[in-house]
């Protein structure tokens, strides 16, 4: 028992070193903007850049939409597949793997051809349409993680019996889905949301080719043209993302439910 715990601490320690040292390396460099001394100049420069705030805000908003719509798509699907169409699982799993290997640029070129201003669904005609397309693209990119996270959480509850219990009490499917299933796969929804959030905050190709003012392209631009700010930005983005996730988790904990395992 004792030796298990020592081994576990060891694993965590090694993991921590592996994960933290590169971040320290980045941080150290970000402090070197002024010659010969450590300063937070790079951070000041980042924070005073209006573009940083607007793009970060824009991407946060997009992430929020992506998480909401993604969950609305994925949770009912995973639920239905478990309940009624278990034989479709391998097919769905394969589909959700595709976004990992199909280059984002290929997908976005496809969008431009399919949904341009002269197509049957002219999404790029308006800003809001383009934003929608962007959200759809993010949903696509996050499918592999989202689906697995939710499906795993669903394995933990008896979906079939809960459904029947709710049905026998007179509930219709929206109630069943949103009041009885969703809250009980929160752990999966949450970890799917974490990953989605991180994906959206960093994504470059989609936003850039759809010409939306997102954080990914901004990061890229700063990375290509500045020396110290990119490191500061990386640290800031990392910290904010982690913080947001922490908040998300805290919020979900205040929600009075069984403890979520995440």
């Amino acid at each position: 028992m004792k030796s298990t715990r020592i081994l576990a601490w060891l694993a965590i320690a090694i993991g921590a070193i592996y994960f933290i040292v590169p971040l320290i390396g980045t941080f150290e460099f970000s402090l070197r903007m002024r010659r010969g001394e450590y300063t937070f100049d790079a951070y000041q420069s980042v924070f005073s850049d209006i573009q940083f705030r607007t793009t970060f805000g824009f991407s946060m908003l997009m992430a929020l939409f992506t998480i909401i719509f993604g969950m609305l798509l994925v949770v009912p699907t995973a639920y239905w597949v478990r309940l009624r169409l278990p034989r479709m699982r391998p097919v769905i799993e394969f589909i959700t793997l595709l976004p990992l290997v199909i280059p984002a640029i290929v997908i976005v070129f496809g969008y431009l051809r399919l949904y341009n201003s002269s197509s049957f669904l002219p999404l790029t005609n308006s800003t809001s349409g383009t934003n929608m397309l962007l959200v759809f693209s993010y949903m696509t990119l996050s499918l592999p993680y989202m689906y697995r996270a939710v499906d795993t959480a669903m394995r933990m509850i008896d979906v079939g019996t809960l459904t029947e219990a709710a049905e026998s009490l007179g509930a219709k499917w929206p109630t069943i889905l949103f009041r009885c299933i969703f809250p009980n796969v929160m752990s999966g929804v949450l970890s799917g949301a974490f990953i989605t959030f991180a994906i959206v905050m960093g994504e470059f190709t989609m936003a850039s080719l759809l010409n939306r003012p997102a954080f990914g392209p901004y990061l890229q631009l700063v990375g290509a043209n500045k020396a110290y700010e990119p490191s500061a930005l990386a640290i800031i983005a990392f910290a904010i993302t982690w913080l947001s996730m922490g908040l998300l988790q805290l919020v979900s904990r205040f929600q009075k439910t069984a403890p979520v395992k995440a």
């Binding site: 460099f29 070197r32 903007m33 002024r34 010659r35 070129f109 431009l112 051809r113 341009n116 201003s117 002269s118 197509s119 002219p122 790029t124 005609n125 800003t127 383009t130 850039s208 080719l209 759809l210 010409n211 392209p217 890229q220 631009l221 990375g223 290509a224 043209n225 500045k226 020396a227 110290y228 990119p230 490191s231």
Partner: protein
């Protein structure tokens, strides 16, 4: 110089928007040029697509946006020389001749006006003098033991024009005159740099210069100078044009065949090729294509010239023809992996 016609200005204003692509603000003074255009035509908004795109991206953006009049479709492009003729062949660009057409050297324009050069620069060594005390003067110096782990290109020779030209230049420095042979010789030279342990296969830019992982970056002189200004002495950079093998790279401007705002695009061209636009390039350390014409007419202020590397450096500059570029490129891209062998396992 001549002003654009009133009808064109009127038509462009009616379109109200111009979509550009791949124009980093720190590249060739584009930041100020765009600002100047906006100031002059406040009725036209400038929509800037991916400033960090490469020439290939620009071409693909045109193709992908056929039929799209949304904000994603570029009106004008600024691409490496070789992309001019190829896009014309593919029907991706449309002809237009600016008012100053005649003052553009014939060697740098398509006779029909589909594309024409806008600016050029020469390849240079951008050096972090904190780390490198003895600044290299020529291509041959790069194999010296002093420059262990120091030399980087500003791109992957398989994807970046800037990097291919670097190899080609190194070949010219060896005294080769035949383009294909120059390519091979350049490749051989980079193989030597690599064997000496000097080559760092990271893409060099201002951050890696500052951080020290690429103390010497081979890049267009105007980029080097812009980086020097941004870093402002932390660390200090020096931009050196090599003594031999000075290769000039010409970029060309063109209007998309599917431009949603063709008149705004034409107006943009007029602005770029006006004296004001051309001097904007020069402020960004680029040689505008009408440089000789401007100098001849005394339009270039002396303090602008003083900020450039010595004029002597440019006198030696070689402008590879398209055919020469093709020949050099073929040799370099196909054999880069095997000869330079940076595929460390």
């Amino acid at each position: 110089a001549a002003e654009p016609s009133a009808e064109l200005v009127e038509a462009a204003k009616k379109e109200g928007k111009l979509t550009t692509i791949a124009l980093p603000h720190s590249w060739c003074g584009y930041g100020d040029i765009i600002a100047g255009f906006k100031a002059k035509y406040p009725e036209i908004t400038v929509n800037e697509l991916n400033p960090d795109a490469g020439s290939g991206d620009e071409i693909e953006a045109i193709k992908a946006n056929k039929g799209n009049t949304g904000d994603q479709a570029p009106d004008v492009i600024d691409v490496g020389l070789s992309f001019g003729p190829s896009s014309k062949a593919e029907g991706l660009i449309q002809p237009y001749k600016v008012e100053t057409w005649d003052s553009i050297p014939d060697s740098a324009k398509d006779a029909d006006g589909h594309w024409y050069g806008d600016y050029y620069g020469v390849l240079s060594f951008v050096v972090n003098t904190d780390i490198v005390k003895e600044v290299p003067k020529d291509w041959a110096d790069l194999t010296k033991a002093d420059y262990a782990n120091a030399v980087a290109l500003a791109g992957d020779p398989r994807t970046s024009n800037q990097a291919v030209q670097a190899a080609y230049a190194a070949g010219l420095a060896k005294g080769e005159t035949d383009a294909a042979k120059a390519g091979e010789a350049g490749l051989a030279h980079f193989a030597e740099i690599n064997k000496a342990g000097n080559f760092v296969p990271v893409i060099g830019k201002s951050a890696s210069l500052a951080q020290g992982s690429t103390p010497i970056v081979i890049a267009w002189d105007y980029n080097g100078l812009a980086w020097r200004d941004t870093l402002a002495g932390n660390p200090p950079l020096e931009v050196v044009v090599p003594e031999t093998g000075v290769v000039a790279g010409v970029y060309v401007q063109a209007i998309s065949a599917f431009a949603p705002h063709p008149n705004a695009a034409k107006l943009w061209m007029e602005y770029l090729y006006s004296d004001e636009g051309q001097l904007g390039y020069l402020k960004g350390y680029c040689h505008p294509i009408r440089f000789n014409d401007l100098v001849k007419n005394g339009k270039v202020p002396q303090e602008m010239l003083d900020k450039l590397p010595p004029a002597a450096a440019y006198e030696k500059a070689v402008f590879p023809t398209l055919e020469e570029q093709e020949a050099g490129k073929a040799a370099i891209t196909t054999k880069w992996d095997s000869v330079v062998g940076a595929n460390v396992q």
